[in-house]
């Protein structure tokens, strides 16, 4: 049955609805703008971590085709260097990952951080500047405090290496080596 027409316009409700329309249209417009390579700076100010205005070009135009590995080595009290050792962060694919994949966020952090680091490195060659970036500090914090070190370690250095994953004929490539940093 048809509802009776309201005799008067409900102003607060109408205003709220039009406010909602404006919000949704703006949001949709900003989402479209976010998909382009050069995005307006205002988008970063509105949503600095892309929670609400995501980039949805997934694996395109240029998909990542390498695994990223985090290696570290130590400088001992006598000045000797240990061998490079990898801290494994990526799990090999299994059926379980269809439902349960707790390592995914850390796996994803590595390319996110390294992509930001290499982007900064392309534009800024002062190592002191690079050493104060969030990705550098994050990786340094991890290798310094979370990784185990042999007795007598005075300093630690980390290395970012890329590999072709299951393609074993391609040599790994070094992407970035940090300075040595003292262990506190």
């Amino acid at each position: 049955m048809d509802q009776p027409l309201p005799s008067t316009v409900d102003l607060p409700r109408t205003a709220a609805r039009y406010g909602l329309y404006a919000l949704l249209v703006t949001w949709a417009g900003l989402t479209v703008a976010k998909q382009f390579r050069k995005t307006p700076k205002v988008l970063t100010r509105i949503d600095p971590i892309n929670t609400a205005i995501p980039v949805t070009t997934f694996f395109a135009p240029n998909p990542g085709k390498t695994d990223i590995h985090l290696l570290k080595r130590e400088k001992l009290a006598d000045g000797a260097l240990t061998e490079w050792s990898e801290y494994p962060l990526i799990e090999r694919r299994s059926l379980r990952h269809m439902l349960w994949h707790p390592s995914r966020r850390v796996e994803k952090l590595l390319p996110d951080a390294v992509s930001e680091l290499t982007q900064v490195a392309l534009e800024e060659q002062r190592i002191e500047y690079l050493q104060l970036t969030i990705p550098y500090l994050s990786l340094l914090n991890f290798v310094t405090n979370a990784c185990e070190h042999p007795d007598g370690t005075r300093e630690v250095q980390f290395l970012i290496v890329t590999s072709a994953g299951f393609e074993e004929n391609e040599e790994p490539r070094t992407l970035f080596a940090s300075d040595f940093h003292p262990i506190a």
């Binding site: 609805r17 695994d67 694919r93 990952h97 966020r105 979370a146 072709a164 299951f166």
Partner: protein, 651 residues
């Protein structure tokens, strides 16, 4: 005997209603959205609880570092208070809240108000955790979940306003269709997706790949291409779910579901199934064929849908004929307008001619330089999409009285285009004809930038008696695309960039893109003309053909040039190119081995283009040219070859 109507068993119907039944159709859609999104979000929260060490102060998401990225307005509440929420282990409280709220939304029986509060909590905790993680480690499922929960919470706030609730469901449908469509467009624009190589490249990684799937797509490029094109077509076609007939719309949703199951199995993208497929009821609600309006929607008149016959009938009617005539007239007018614009653009370009035109073989060739003077003449060969003006600073840096010539190849700069393919024979014949026409006397010092380095080798191979020496300016190497993986991988992107730049130039948009700004580095009297020249679509079309020709014939031909014992060779390399591809250094060293009399110089801060264009780097090129010229002059003066010598300059 009457048969009972076909319907689900009462128990199953009751269970379904208890699980996701709503007060009305929109509430039912939102209930399903909340429930299925929450399955993924709750799994995500439990995953974070299981990997809680990553959020500890020592972990990769450690608060001592990540707090530096928190927004200013967060920091204003004070470090101590902020650490009380986001420090470790307090932050696990947020994750636990998220897990509980997610479970609350999965379980049946909640009121609309309770569901609204729980959805809002999911939004708030998502924002908090995403910021706490510095934006790292997130994926598309996290972002869409946030939007899903926003829609679910806002819908409760507008509980009595049907139009606002409908708008929220449409917004969600637009976001999801937009996400699939933009993913499809980005893949369609990518050469590695179009040729299928993206598939084995993604699946070879341990992180997003699978060894078995990789083996199949690596060994069968056709399967890889089919997977790539299937993904592109599926993503591009996804928005049709809103307008397609019922079986097609259902097929699209079923394909989307299968796609996410495949991604979960082979790529480990487990949470995408829940965040994306939970929106499908909302898409069905908005869809013309699956939504609630289907029954009441007015039917399309039968006479309107007769395909070609209907179209032919419409065309023969008076109104149809008038429309067709108007359309043809508009197309003709548009054609004339395009032609006039192209003509005006060409006229404008010719008015800015910086050098002069020389008639060679029934074609006008644009030349710059000086044909009078003493000693060996310097002949410049440009890179791709670069006119003769690129040598502005270099030519001005040469010693006064040096005979020199820079010219535009056919279809480049201000030179007339040619019909014949510019293979090495043709290119060398044209250059020889031009040198004779302008009266430039040998011996020539050939200076080649980028692919110009290949062309000077092709010329030198055919006319060794005319060539005194060569200078390679960040030159291409005949085998660079075979030997350098980095350059090989870049090749399809270079082709793509040339094509898109040509399209931008044709639309008159290139001058606004900032891509022509690098020409501002040239001398003032050449900068504006060069900017105009590279804003013209023709130069980019020629560059595409020349790049293809360089792959087809120039490189192979250039590699046949034998090394010389006495003809001096100088190599100037841009430091930026070396940094972006370490193998470039070795390839440049090989260029210097073309002669026993050679010199190498790496200009550390210079880029591939700025090495020639910028005033501060051009002197290094001039230095190399003068070094070669001095040796050629000395050899000519002595009437014999130089003693073998090798030099290294610069950094």
């Amino acid at each position: 005997m009457e048969r009972p109507p076909l319907s689900p068993a009462p128990f199953a119907r009751d269970l379904a209603h208890r699980l996701w039944g709503g007060q009305d159709d929109i509430d039912g859609v939102l209930r399903k959205l909340e429930m299925f999104t929450s399955v993924g979000a709750t799994i995500g929260a439990f995953e974070q609880l299981a990997a809680s060490r990553t959020l500890s102060d020592d972990g990769l998401f450690g608060w001592p570092v990540m707090r530096l990225r928190s927004p200013q307005w967060w920091r204003s509440i004070g470090d101590e208070r902020l650490a009380g929420i986001f420090g470790y282990p307090q932050v696990m409280g947020l994750v636990q809240t998220r897990a509980l709220a997610g479970l609350g939304l999965i379980l049946p029986g909640g009121s609309r108000a309770q569901r609204g509060v729980l959805s809002a909590s999911m939004c708030a905790t998502a924002h908090g955790l995403h910021t706490r993680m510095g934006g790292y480690g997130l994926d598309g499922s996290d972002h869409l979940s946030f939007i899903n929960y926003f829609v679910a919470a806002a819908e409760k706030a507008f509980g009595n306003d049907r139009r606002a609730r409908e708008a929220l469901v449409k917004f969600l449908a637009a976001q999801v269709c937009g996400a699939y469509f933009s993913a499809g467009v980005a893949k369609l624009a990518s050469p590695v997706w179009r040729n299928g190589t993206a598939i084995p490249e993604i699946f070879r990684t341990t992180m997003f790949g699978d060894s078995g799937f990789y083996r199949v797509v690596n060994e069968h490029p056709l399967i890889a291409k089919a997977v790539a094109w299937g993904t592109i077509a599926g993503e591009l076609a996804f928005p049709l779910v809103l307008v397609a007939p019922r079986p097609v719309a259902r097929g699209i949703l079923a394909s989307g579901f299968a796609f996410h199951i495949g991604n979960a199995r082979f790529m480990g993208l487990n949470r995408f199934i829940w965040s994306y497929c939970s929106t499908y009821p909302a898409l069905a609600h908005v869809s013309r064929s699956l939504g609630p309006r289907t029954e009441s929607a007015p039917r399309v008149p039968a006479s309107a849908g007769r395909g070609a016959a209907g179209l032919a009938h419409a065309m023969t009617s008076k109104r149809g004929a008038a429309l067709a005539a108007a359309g043809a007239g508009a197309a003709a007018l548009a054609g004339v307008a395009v032609h006039r614009v192209a003509r005006a653009r060409q006229d404008r370009l010719m008015r800015s001619l910086p050098g002069s035109l020389v008639r060679v073989g029934a074609r006008d060739v644009h030349v710059m330089g000086e044909n009078r003077g003493e000693g060996p003449a310097v002949v410049f060969e440009n890179g791709l999409a670069a006119p003769a003006t690129q040598w502005g600073w270099v030519m001005r840096g040469l010693r006064p009285g040096t005979p020199c010539l820079a010219y535009d190849r056919p279809g480049v700069g201000w030179s007339e285009a040619a019909r014949r393919r510019p293979d090495p024979d043709e290119a060398a014949t044209r250059l020889l004809g031009l040198l004779r026409e302008v009266g430039l006397k040998p011996p020539y010092i050939l200076v080649g930038h980028s692919v110009g380095g290949l062309l000077i080798r092709c010329f030198a191979r055919r006319h060794p008696e005319l060539v005194g020496g060569m200078v390679f300016v960040d030159s291409s190497h005949p085998e660079q695309f075979r030997r350098s993986p980095k350059q090989r991988e870049a090749l399809p992107w270079i082709r793509q960039r040339l094509a898109t730049t040509q399209a931008q130039a044709a639309a008159g948009l290139l001058k606004y893109s900032g891509r022509t700004d690098q020409m501002n580095a040239l001398p003032d009297d050449l900068a504006a003309a060069t900017r105009d020249c590279v804003s013209h679509p023709r130069i980019w079309g020629t560059a595409r053909r020349e790049l293809a020709e360089s792959q087809r014939t120039w490189s192979a031909d250039a590699s046949l040039l034998p090394s010389s014992a006495s003809k001096p060779v100088a190599v100037v390399t841009a430091g930026e190119t070396v940094r972006s591809d370490p193998l470039h250094t070795g390839l440049q060293q090989e260029l210097a081995l073309l002669s026993e009399v050679s010199r190498r110089d790496v200009v550390s801060d210079a880029g591939h283009e700025s090495l020639v264009l910028a005033e501060k780097y051009a002197p290094r090129v001039v230095e190399a040219v003068e070094w070669v010229r001095a040796r050629v002059s000395a050899a000519a003066g002595e009437g014999g070859a130089d003693a073998p010598s090798t030099a290294a300059a610069g950094e």
